[in-house]
């Protein structure tokens, strides 16, 4: 148990920081209250360090939850990870993008209240301020996200997903003083609950079909006894439910309203955090049901035990799952891009584009990991270009950075305050026209990030998309890749508008002027993102190599599979129904 806790050090650090932030944020002196964001930043830095520092233990045999996963008898006490190497990469990515996100959050809540306190009009009242709660929720959500990455059972995964999402509902609601934000929060909460219900139902069916909650045990059970209809239905329903987290069709419809209602910095948060959680969960489920089998021909049915040691679908996903993801990917990209064309609000455009980007990443999920068994190449070159999983992981990072840059610009620029003195955010395309001349730094950040989102070479977005192309084609999904290409072309229309409204167009006379928001860190976040969009395109090789390493899938080799009976026995003598009774969908 303690060994396992050691593995969760980044999460524990974040959790401790969360508690600290909750207390410190309620201090009566402003100087102490201010420390909240600093504490959060330090905690994220520490988590980043710990994520990277845990890397060696993951591959060593000493690590209880990975290492030689399948070479010793499976026991219930040791959960194993299906995508073990994904953990450090994702945690480090989450901490790094989390730091950028933290920079943008400055001044999201309590702006008027703090001003009133500073002016002496009011005294500090813990009931009226949200600072402590806001930063605590922020860290809670990131903690949940990291926990998703280390999940090894369905229950853990569900709890982690909910820990990621629940704080975001409140963050949306309290992010602006307007009613629209509250409406968005409530809408997001109810629809989020619906999504959670759907995938929880799916999880329940998987448990019903296999009698296991541990992802590895489920994988072994599916391998030993075939994929029963109930398990398959469970997996598919879970994937649809998880579509809510990544904003994929048919669970995408909340996205534009919520993104529009929330403050831009929170929309930026929503575009990265729940989406990443959803993709991690989808990757884990896919690894559970399909990828983790040895390549075709690597193993034969064992004559001794009679166990089917090779899945009928080889190393790819079962056909119904693959088809579902294919359709989701194609629809998600197309719906997102086409609807984005019709929007006049920048945040709604970015919301629909976020849907479209989920569709792009689903292409990588459909493509699956590299099946050429060449993960051992020293350079990982072939592995990276062929693996859809590493493409997804890398794209999550790219998307996190470049999308955050666009939202950070929206957060860093405000319209001149109205009569009530309340700052109003930039939303329409008219507001950012000619931004390059009024505020060159923010204007150019927007140009760079929008062009990168478009996937224009030689910016980061292109190098994110290229592995999706290569892996999709290597997996034989040529049609899907062509759809992906055409969708990039559709997207060009609105991204060009977004990129060139600040640069090429002149502001109209009657439109109000914009002023920089009084929070320098938001500008820093935008500048850092825009700089990464350029710099990572030049020096991104290291990250790509890490992504390639992170996508290594644990293979179940034939020698590792005991008879189904022994598996059940070692699983702790669970009294659940043996899944063998269910008819196998794929004989």
């Amino acid at each position: 148990m303690s060994e396992r806790l050691a593995f969760l050090r980044p999460e524990i650090l974040l959790f401790v920081a969360t508690c600290l932030v909750m207390v410190v944020g309620l201090s009566k002196t402003y100087a102490t209250r201010r420390l909240t964001s600093g504490i959060a930043g330090l905690a994220l830095l520490g988590a980043f360090y710990l994520s990277i520092a845990t890397t060696p233990s993951l591959t060593s045999a000493a690590c209880p939850i990975s290492g030689k996963v399948f070479s010793e008898p499976v026991s219930a006490a040791s959960g194993q990870l299906l995508l073990p190497a994904m953990v450090p990469f994702m945690k480090a990515t989450i901490a790094a993008v989390g730091l950028l996100l933290l920079l943008v959050q400055a001044g999201t809540v309590d702006r008027a209240e703090e001003a009133a306190i500073a002016a002496g009009k009011r005294t500090f009242d813990p009931l009226r301020t949200n600072r402590a709660e806001y930063y605590a929720f922020f860290l809670f959500s990131l903690t949940g996200l990291m926990l998703c990455a280390s999940a090894d059972s369905l229950i853990w995964l569900f709890l982690a997903l909910e820990l990621t999402s629940l704080p975001t509902y409140i963050m949306v609601a309290i992010s602006t003083a307007r009613n629209r934000g509250r409406e968005a929060g409530v809408k997001y909460f109810f629809l989020g609950a619906l999504g959670a219900a759907v995938f929880l139902y799916g999880f329940a069916l998987i448990y019903g079909g296999t009698g296991q909650t541990n992802l590895n045990q489920i994988a072994l059970a599916i391998r030993g006894n075939g994929l029963s209809t109930i398990t398959l239905a469970g997996v598919m329903i879970s994937l649809i439910g998880l579509g809510f987290k990544i904003a994929a069709v048919p669970m995408h419809f909340y996205t534009p309203d919520v993104y529009e209602g929330a403050a831009p910095q929170v929309s930026g948060f929503l575009a990265f955090v729940p989406k990443t959680a959803g993709f991690i969960a989808i990757l884990l489920l896919c690894a559970m049901v399909g990828w983790n089998y040895a390549p075709p021909g690597a193993d034969e049915p064992s004559a001794l035990t009679g166990v089917i040691t090779q899945s009928p679908w080889g190393t790819s996903l079962p056909e119904p799952v693959s088809l579902l993801l294919w359709v989701m990917a194609a629809l998600t990209m197309t719906v997102g891009n086409v609807l984005a064309l019709l929007q006049s609000s920048v945040k709604r455009v970015l919301a629909y584009s976020s849907i479209a980007h989920s569709g792009y990443m689903l292409v990588g999920v459909v493509a699956g990991p590299n099946t050429q068994a060449s993960n051992e190449l020293p350079s990982f070159a072939s592995a990276f270009t062929r693996s859809g999983v590493s493409a997804v992981l890398f794209y999550l990072l790219c998307y996190g950075v470049m999308n955050l840059g666009a939202f950070a610009v929206l957060a860093a620029v405000e319209r001149t305050p109205g009569a009530d003195g309340e700052a109003r955010e930039v939303d329409k395309f008219e507001d950012i026209r000619g931004l390059c001349r009024r505020d060159p730094v923010m204007g150019w950040c927007m140009v760079l990030c929008a062009l990168s989102l478009l996937g224009l070479p030689p910016l980061l977005g292109f190098f994110g998309k290229l592995p999706l192309f290569t892996s999709g084609i290597a997996a034989g999904q040529v049609a899907l890749v062509v759809i992906l290409g055409l969708n990039s072309a559709i997207a060009a229309f609105y991204y060009l508008r977004l990129a060139f409204a600040p640069f090429l167009e002149s502001p109209e006379e009657h439109v109000e002027r914009t002023v920089p928001a009084p929070y320098a860190t938001r500008r820093w976040a935008a500048v850092l993102s825009a700089a990464s969009v350029v710099a990572l395109a030049i020096f991104g090789s290291v990250l790509m190599r890490e992504a390639a390493r992170a996508s290594t899938v644990q293979r179940i080799a034939p020698a590792d599979v005991r008879t189904p009976a022994s598996v059940r026995l070692e699983a702790g003598g669970s009294a659940s129904t043996p899944p063998a009774r269910h008819s196998s969908l794929l004989p």
Partner: protein
């Protein structure tokens, strides 16, 4: 390193333009483009013509090695000539913008992006890595988009977005095709993932005919739009008409050549069997473009639009020669790329000069300018004749070679497949076109003569017509411009005129550079066709 310098120099120049005040933009841009031209001339002078089939001045720097991506450059004979053309048009564009882009027109933006565009175009021709090629190919869109949408005429926004979307949509599909080629290569035993163009051009062939057909479709989706071939040409007249003069010159002179060059460099060697199979179809599209484009030119009243549509027709000839797949045709096609860049570029410059003076390009409002502007008229007649294909000027040689190539390309006597062509008449070469293609395309020459001479007849000769309300001393007239051409404008046109004449009487000056490269490409096509048809035969069996 020479080629890196050719790419980097304009970028550095652009950065300098961006940070210096607007008054220094033009001199800086001029300096940069002249330096590039000098470098390019030096490169061409030291180019080893005998070994023109291989990439020279090769240099390579690792960039994202995990993707197999290298900054790898080199130039064979054809690429060298196109780089030279790009470098030549650079100073001409800068010089021609002297009065069109004033200090109030954000000159820093204009000249900086003009230089970036030059760097990107040079990059396309010099790239030896598929992804580097694609990056440069795509990146040309951004500067051109900016030039059109900031400095174009009334309909510029629409033209710019149409230009961008057409070419971008096509090229992402082409990217899928390019990636498939790399994948097909990597899937072969003993091969690893690479984007090296030469490697792919020699080893990625041997795919089945149907695969090659789909690949051809995907690649042509990207490159045919750029050329442009007949059904996907509609962005071109709009973009040409709306672009500023220098933009039109670059568009006609070099940007269209990116498409033809890509077809020459990538499509022919990699999917030769499919090209051979579908060449008749593609040639029909070319011929439709030639005739349809010509007929549309005939009814234009806007001079610039007329020349824009004439590009559709001209590039039809160029591609017809390419798809003839024989030495005459492909050499003619390569020659055509350069010649079209010179003569059509010059025509756009001439029209820009008229537009600056009269603020109209309408043939109904202009006429008989020979009496007012004799020097301009002389150049106009000269370049029109070069464009029509008057023997002795450059257009004739390439047009004739393209048609001769199509004529000799011998499907009419064979089954259309390379190895099964038997019993050919004398002079016929392997290929899948035939005399009829040349005959029908030949009518396009007549149409070209009709519309171009009609245009010259109405604008240059006849009774003097000037736009209503036009006064030489009035506000409409540009203060800095004399009635006829200024020495600067003559200086812009003269080098082009000299080259047109030189290439008309001595095309070998260019052909001796391109010949080895063409021979090598055709050898690859031949090798690929043999294996390709064998593979197709195996599939059929």
């Amino acid at each position: 390193m020479l080629l890196f310098a050719l790419i980097l120099l304009p970028i550095l120049g652009a950065l300098a333009v961006a940070v210096m005040p607007g008054t220094a933009s033009r001199p800086l841009a001029m300096l940069t483009t002249l330096a590039s031209l000098a470098l390019a001339v030096y490169a061409a002078a030291t180019f080893d013509r005998a070994a023109g089939g291989t990439a020279q001045f090769a240099a390579s720097v690792d960039w994202l090695p995990i993707l197999g991506l290298k900054l790898s450059v080199g130039a064979d004979g054809v690429a060298m000539m196109l780089i030279l053309l790009t470098a030549l048009l650079g100073p001409i564009c800068v010089a021609s913008s002297a009065t069109a882009i004033g200090q109030g027109d954000r000159p820093r933006v204009y000249y900086a992006w003009l230089l970036v565009l030059q760097a990107a175009m040079t990059g396309v021709f010099a790239a030896q890595d598929l992804i580097l090629f694609y990056i440069c190919f795509e990146f040309t869109l951004i500067p051109m988009y900016i030039l059109i949408s900031l400095y174009g005429s009334t309909n510029r926004k629409r033209a710019a977005i149409k230009f961008f979307l057409y070419t971008f949509a096509g090229s992402v599909v082409a990217l899928a095709g390019l990636v498939y080629i790399a994948h097909a290569h990597a899937a072969k035993p003993g091969q690893s993932w690479t984007f090296d163009i030469d490697t792919l051009a020699t080893t990625a062939r041997g795919l089945s005919l149907s695969t090659q057909g789909w690949l051809l479709l995907a690649l042509m989706a990207g490159f045919a739009v750029k050329v442009p071939l007949f059904p996907v040409h509609t962005w071109l007249p709009l973009a040409h008409t709306e672009a500023p003069t220098a933009g039109s010159v670059i568009l006609a002179g070099v940007l269209l050549k990116l498409g033809t060059y890509a077809i020459y460099r990538l499509v022919l060697p990699v999917v030769p069997a499919a090209v051979l199979e579908y060449a008749p179809l593609l040639a029909v599209l070319c011929i439709v473009g030639i005739i349809y484009g010509g007929l549309i030119c005939w009814v234009q009243t806007d001079v610039k639009k007329l020349v824009a549509y004439s590009s559709v027709a001209h590039l039809g000839f160029c591609m017809l020669g390419m798809f003839a797949l024989n030495n005459t045709g492909v050499s003619g096609s390569v020659l055509y790329m350069i010649n079209h860049g010179l003569s059509t570029g010059a025509l756009f410059l001439l029209i820009g000069m008229i537009y600056e003076r009269y603020h109209t390009r309408d043939m109904k409002q202009l006429g008989g300018l020979a009496s007012k502007m004799p020097v301009w008229s002389t150049f106009m007649v000269f370049f029109t004749l070069a464009s029509v294909g008057l023997p002795g000027l450059n257009g004739f040689v390439s047009e004739f070679m393209c048609m001769l190539g199509a004529f000799q390309s011998s499907s009419a006597w064979g089954s259309g497949l390379w190895h099964s062509v038997g019993n050919r008449p004398v002079g016929a070469t392997p290929g899948s076109l035939g005399p009829w293609f040349a005959v029908i395309a030949g009518t396009g020459v007549i149409i070209a003569a009709m519309y171009l001479l009609y245009m010259v007849g109405s604008v240059v000769w006849g009774k003097l017509k000037e736009p209503h309300g036009h006064h030489h001393d009035g506000a409409h007239h540009h203060a800095a411009l004399p009635r006829d051409l200024s020495p600067r404008e003559i200086g812009v046109l003269l080098p082009l005129a000299v080259l047109c004449l030189l290439l008309g009487v001595y095309p070998k000056a260019l052909l001796m550079f391109t010949e080895p490269s063409v021979t090598q490409t055709l050898a690859r096509v031949q090798a690929g066709t043999t294996t390709g048809t064998l593979a197709a035969g195996e599939v059929a069996r």
